[in-house]
């Protein structure tokens, strides 16, 4: 269970990106987050794992208050939050396999990751995840040799190997063509169901006027390609 209480973010520039947002996402729920550009969708997601420091308010994950953690505790907590990026954010010059294994960085000591010698159980798990998304034969290719859809699937593997409780996804399909977008969205929804994960998914480019024409979930389903459990509009 992920809970936000009165989460507020005011940037140094004075932009009030989030204004006392209250939100609860139970285990297994996929929440679609829509709203016009600049509504604060990315900010909300980034405040949860504190890539952006919230100005006030609290974030609680399974009873741990993330907003009160020191840097060590925060790193431990981040292992339970998988983040998926619009630009995939793979390490371009590393192989697919090493990219997937980088999801284990929070669990493995530095010297092992430096030598690129991950525990065998992690390696097996990485192969399993790659197989699950149909990229097994790509394991030794470099990430910059993949197509957009393939890259995002590697991004998903990297997140799953973290063994997360929550997925945070910032416009995961905004850089993909409509057909691939729908495939990726469907994959994400399937995985959330399989593993009973909570997820917050940002969807880009949804204007308020469009929201008036369709009610929330229908619109989200339209952009999404798969039906989220719930839809929330920021403005």
């Amino acid at each position: 269970m992920l809970r936000l209480e009165k989460l507020t973010k005011i940037y140094k520039t004075g932009d009030k990106a989030l204004n006392a947002v209250d939100l609860e996402v139970p285990q297994g729920q996929v929440l679609a987050l829509i709203g016009p550009s600049g509504a604060g969708k990315s900010t909300l997601i980034r405040c949860i794992n504190r890539l952006v420091e919230p100005t006030s308010g609290t974030v609680t994950l399974d009873g741990t208050e993330l907003t009160g953690l020191g840097s060590g505790g925060l790193r431990k907590a981040r292992r339970r939050m998988g983040m998926i990026f619009q630009e995939y954010a793979l390490v371009e010059r590393l192989t697919v396999m090493k990219n997937v294994l980088s999801g284990r960085l929070g669990y493995v000591p530095f010297w092992r990751t430096l030598l690129r010698t991950f525990p065998q159980s992690d390696v097996d798990e990485a192969f399993r995840q790659l197989d699950r998304v149909g990229l097994l034969e790509m394991a030794d290719k470099r990430a910059d040799e993949l197509s957009g859809g393939q890259r995002q699937r590697v991004g998903i593997c990297r997140v799953l190997i973290q063994n997360p409780a929550v997925l945070l996804e910032d416009e995961p399909t905004a850089s993909l063509d409509p057909k691939t977008s729908r495939q990726i969205m469907r994959l994400i929804c399937e995985l959330c169901e399989e593993r009973n994960l909570a997820a917050i998914v940002n969807i880009h480019g949804v204007a308020k006027t469009a929201l008036r024409q369709f009610p929330g979930p229908a619109l989200a389903a339209h952009c999404f390609g798969a039906l989220p459990d719930r839809c929330l509009c920021l403005d």
Partner: protein, 242 residues
Amino acid sequence: MLYLIAAFASIDVNWSWVYEGLDRGWKFIVAFANPDFTSRATDIKEGLIENAVITIVSTVVGIAVSIPIGLGAARNISALPVYLVCRAIVAISRSLNGIVVAILLVAILGFGPLASFLTLSFATIVFLSKLLAEEIEDMDKVQAEAIRATGGSWLQRFDYGVFPQIVPRLIGLSIYRLDINFRESAVLGLVGAGGIGATLNTAFDRYEFDTAAAILLMITAQLWCWNTSRVSSARRCNDGDL
């Protein structure tokens, strides 16, 4: 135009010196036609080896020192106090001229390869740390952010999110610097800082132009070997994964 003529007229040429110089130049050219590799063979060999050692060691040490300084001087990954200190180091060291440093070091440490080694290390640090910092500031920051989001530590973030992005540039700049250091180590010998330049200096002082010619040819050959070998190795580094 008038100014140019006036300027030329004001150059005071001592024609007898020029004549002597021409004479010496001619002897030098003749010497090049039959360079003498043998009579000072051991000196030349030792000089060349000393040169190579000075170059390689100073470049390696320079790179090793400039990586942490470059990291610290990159605003996007370092805390403000660290950044300010490293930027100050970069700024101050850049304002010192290389040859001045060499002469200073010779004055402090006396003649010999140590001065040469320190000068080249210093020059490498000056050159590399600033460019490295700029490269880090220009990197794609989401890659590093993704590593941070998995719960990786600062070192892991550097190792996975930053280092792979700067490696091609780091290798390119290091090879380029090694190149420059090779050349400079020969020149530094002339101000008394050891290596093949010192051997060359001695040869000139003794008017052994044939030996000097041999030394110059050897330096050229060494540079040429080095140049051809580095092209292939650089290409291999770029295509690999890390």
